[in-house]
Amino acid sequence: MPTIVVEVMPKAELLDPQGKAVAGALARLGKTEFSGVRIGKRFELTVDGEITDAVRADVEKIADEILSNSVIEDVVAITYPEAE
């Protein structure tokens, strides 16, 4: 079944405490070449049937309205499976 991938990241200007904690752990491990880590979310939506224009419109809507909160996050990518 086709899968649509939606990727959401915390807004660039906001502090990302999770990413900061991971960056701190990397630094403690001596991995000093990494100056920052940011953590986002990846959603994989499995579609029952074909990906029609209506499905695409729906995905864009739920990506903006449910999967992300525009106050704190950005939808950075919506990836559709390649057409067969």
């Binding site: 502090l15 405490p17 449910i66 999967l67």
Partner: protein, 231 residues
């Protein structure tokens, strides 16, 4: 006077909220997230907890619960609605209040008795306070950092919609030390600290008078009762 408290999957503090309402002098009504029915209540409390395990974002899944359709209609019609902690997160996710709540800047869960300044006494949930009253109620959260755009923050400040502000060391990175806000109409209030845990001598925060004697939270609930009586 009947005040509804909505239980969502993962709510923790609905019984404390019900008890606070009873002590304040109103009748608490238990409501369920899966119904489309407010059972004719006069006001609403969205309690604290971890609805849906904070999955997706804190309060996000609860904000699209069946009952939230009725909550949004009632709030827009002027019904007093209070969101505490996870309830505040739901109100922002439901766009009844602006801004959002993110993980505490220090990355840790925090629990402490929190001093607040009351900066708006015109809301349904704060009219019983005096302006600039300093109160102490418990704070306990992992995702309590209030954020909004600079424009939104300026608007909130300019319109006097910051109801409660943290005093002392900022506990969670909230911008401009904001602990609680209201909507334009003043009927919807959300705050991260827990007034329902400071309503009964013996079970509240410590005060200079005696251990656990703090009852500052009770005024939020008596305020709502006053607001309803004034209608």
């Amino acid at each position: 006077m009947r005040i509804g408290v909505i239980t969502f999957p993962g709510s923790l503090d609905e019984r404390d909220a019900q008890r606070a309402i009873r002590i304040a002098g109103a009748e608490p009504v238990a409501l369920w997230h899966g119904e489309h029915d407010l059972h004719g209540v006069d006001a609403l409390v969205l309690p604290g907890g971890f609805s849906y395990g904070d999955y997706l974002r804190a309060g996000a899944i609860a904000s699209v619960s069946p009952i939230m359709a009725e909550v949004i209609d009632a709030a827009n019609a002027g019904m007093p609605v209070l969101g505490i902690c996870n309830g505040f997160q739901m109100l922002t996710e439901a766009h009844l209040l602006p801004g959002g709540l993110i993980r505490n800047d220090h990355g840790l869960f925090i629990r402490r008795d929190q001093a607040l300044r009351v900066e708006n006494t015109d809301t349904a949930w704060s009219r019983g306070f005096e302006l600039n009253d300093e109160i102490v109620i418990p704070l306990k959260n992992g995702e309590g950092g209030f954020i909004a755009s600079e424009d939104e923050l300026d608007r909130l400040e300019g319109e006097g919609r910051v109801v409660f502000r943290y005093l002392g060391v900022n506990p969670n990175g909230s911008l401009r030390d904001i602990a609680g806000i209201t909507n334009e109409r003043g009927n919807v209030v959300g705050l991260m600290p827990h007034p329902e845990h400071a309503v009964e001598p013996g079970f509240g925060p410590d005060t200079s008078r005696a251990m656990r004697s703090g009852t500052d939270g009770l005024t939020l609930f008596t305020s709502a009762i006053q607001a309803l009586q004034a209608v």
